[in-house]
């Protein structure tokens, strides 16, 4: 259950539109069901009142849209940012990817977003209605007469279970209460994999990555993937491919993508959210984040604008590549 109300967001958006601060609003738009929410640009109070939505399924991170939206529009655009979105926002600014002057950022608190797949694991298919009620979601299906109660906490998206921060690191205005950076257990799963034998790890990833259909959703949604042309789309890059022909190409795509966003990935978790094959892609990024923290000191991409990413930095005393495994073996 979100603490900030839909009404207060709409009210804020309408007032900013009406007083001329912004000319458009980037927000969530109502879908067919209560969980299929689409990012949309609203330009009038009527549109906002009719279609704007804010509930436990508003997961989409709007930061990346600013790259194209600020480029097109003349006026300012209002964007609602959840705490995790603000990290992407800062990282994009660090990389000069959009015009800050054209954005009015409103930070909104977030209690964590629900994963519809997890809801369906409990209630099954055939959902006709989902309502929020305190700490619960009340789900009505076409198969049961009585609605089913599901505790929000039990159906949180993975990235929200392991939320790293409820603090906003960027905004022009904050609605609701500011939260704190959280000592999350987000690296536990990476650690679990690290403790496996190489054979087990290989089998794990072989199974996961073989599901990949190379739809590029992970890349296209990723706020760190804002290349004008991706190397995997560029016939001159030597690695271009449309579909993964075999297990090598599956790995190649995901290794290189993770490497390209290493040190820049804020761990927003969008890649895993959108993966139509449920591949835990965030684990690759988190592996890099964990290694960076361990090798070069704690680093959170997007914590501030202008931070120097670890891969474009060095110290004279850096760990040698050969020492990486010695260190891990000793820790184990």
């Amino acid at each position: 259950m979100q603490k900030i109300t839909l009404e207060s967001l709409v009210e804020k958006a309408v007032s900013l539109l009406e007083n001329g601060t912004v000319t458009s609003v980037l927000g969530w738009k109502k879908g067919e069901f209560d969980y299929d929410i689409t990012p949309a640009v609203f330009e009038s109070a009527d549109e906002l009142k009719k279609d704007f939505v804010w509930n436990d399924f508003c997961g989409a991170n709007f930061s990346k849209y600013l790259v194209s939206k600020t480029c097109k529009s003349e006026g300012k655009i209002l964007v609602f940012l959840k705490p995790c979105d603000t990290y992407s926002f800062n990282q994009l600014l660090t990389e000069h990817r959009f015009d800050r002057e054209k954005v009015y950022a409103v930070g909104i608190p977030c209690e964590g977003m629900a994963d519809i797949n997890k809801v369906k694991e409990v209630v099954g298919d055939g959902i006709s209605k989902i309502e929020s009620n305190g700490d619960d979601l009340v789900v009505t299906t076409i198969y049961e007469d009585a609605p089913v109660k599901v505790t929000c906490k039990d159906v949180l998206a993975e990235r929200c279970v392991n939320c790293k921060s409820k603090r906003h690191v960027a905004y022009d205005e904050l609605l609701g209460e500011e939260g704190e950076v959280i000592a999350s257990e987000r690296f536990d799963e990476v650690e679990r994999l690290e403790k496996m034998t190489p054979e087990e790890r290989f089998a794990f990833w072989q199974n996961e990555l073989s599901k990949c259909i190379r739809c590029n959703a992970c890349r296209d949604v990723c706020p760190a993937c804002t290349c004008e042309k991706c190397v995997f789309d560029n016939p001159n890059s030597g690695v271009e491919n449309k579909a993964a022909s075999n297990s090598f190409e599956e790995k190649m795509f995901h290794i290189i993508r993770a490497f390209h966003v290493a040190g820049r990935c804020t761990d927003c978790g969008e890649c895993s959210r959108v993966c139509p094959q449920n591949i835990p892609l965030h684990l690759l990024n988190r592996k890099f984040i964990k290694d960076i923290n361990e090798f070069y000191g704690e680093y959170q991409a997007g914590a501030e604008v202008g931070l120097r990413a670890p891969l474009v930095d060095y110290t004279l005393e850096d760990l040698e590549p050969g020492e990486v495994f010695d260190r891990r073996d000793n820790n184990a």
């Binding site: 739809c215 959703a217 579909a243």
Partner: protein
Amino acid sequence: MRKCLVEDINSVLAQINKAAKVYLPVDGTDGKARFEEWAEGKEWSNALNTERSAKDFFFPQTENLMEFKTEGKNIEIIDIRSDKDDFVIFGVRGCDVRSFDILDRVFLVEPIDSFYKARREHGIIISVACGRPSETCFCGAFGIDASNPAGDVTVWRTKEAVYWQSNTDKGEELLKKVEGLTDCDEAAVEEEKAKIKKIMDKLPLANLSTEDFGAGKTMELFDSDKWKDLSESCLGCGTCTFVCPTCQCYDIKEFNAGKGVVRFRCWDSCMYSDFTQMSAGQPRLSQLERFRQRFMHKLVYYPERNDGIYGCVGCGRCLAKCPISMNIVKVMKSLGGKDNE
């Protein structure tokens, strides 16, 4: 009509597998169903549908077409086509069965796609009726009867028993080879059909209308100002295309392995900015145009050329999978005027 007990399904599949290799939906580590080769211990999934559609069997994501061997400056062309064995796809839902008809109308008309044809001829389809459809299902809008799907064999699963009905000679041939199926009357199946039909009527998308689409609607829909809003937040990824059972676009590419070259085809997506890239560029420059193409093709261009049959089967995969939850239903409701309000 034949039947077996639910607990005997594995032994029946084992027998079918003796006749031809069987593929069936199996739950993976993520709890989602995908088609896998049958083997002892693999359980038929209870999931409504597979994550990827069944089109993979006839139109796989990548398929090698031919090879070239290079030795110095000499090139030798190698035909890699070989004889295929029959195989059985078990547990295909009605929507996916219809998708094969749609693909056939593309690949099996002149010039016939011999790769597709070879796979299609060897495939035996055992469909299954949908006992528990999802809110994302809308096959009914395209005239598909989920309670009585097509295919060489149709299967109904109730709590106790699995019912088998052959629809084609191919299907009858297959069922004849299976011992342990007993003959039965159709009462139980009729009851199941009626039950499913009732559920279908209750589905949230049961009343989705195709009235405003189909042949001849190009001029009316092409310039609609609604495309802008609809395509606004499209990421341009290929999720909808690749999970779609009817999308049939592919690209032909070559892989230079050093000593030789493999020419292969792979799925392509009209959502991609380099789709149908030509030396002069590509015809659809904006995401709006690309987005419009996909839906106009499914709802207008395809039926125009194929006796009014729509290029969508209502399987609902794109509804579940689109990263931004934009999909054909929202497009139909937005463009479709009053009927879909």
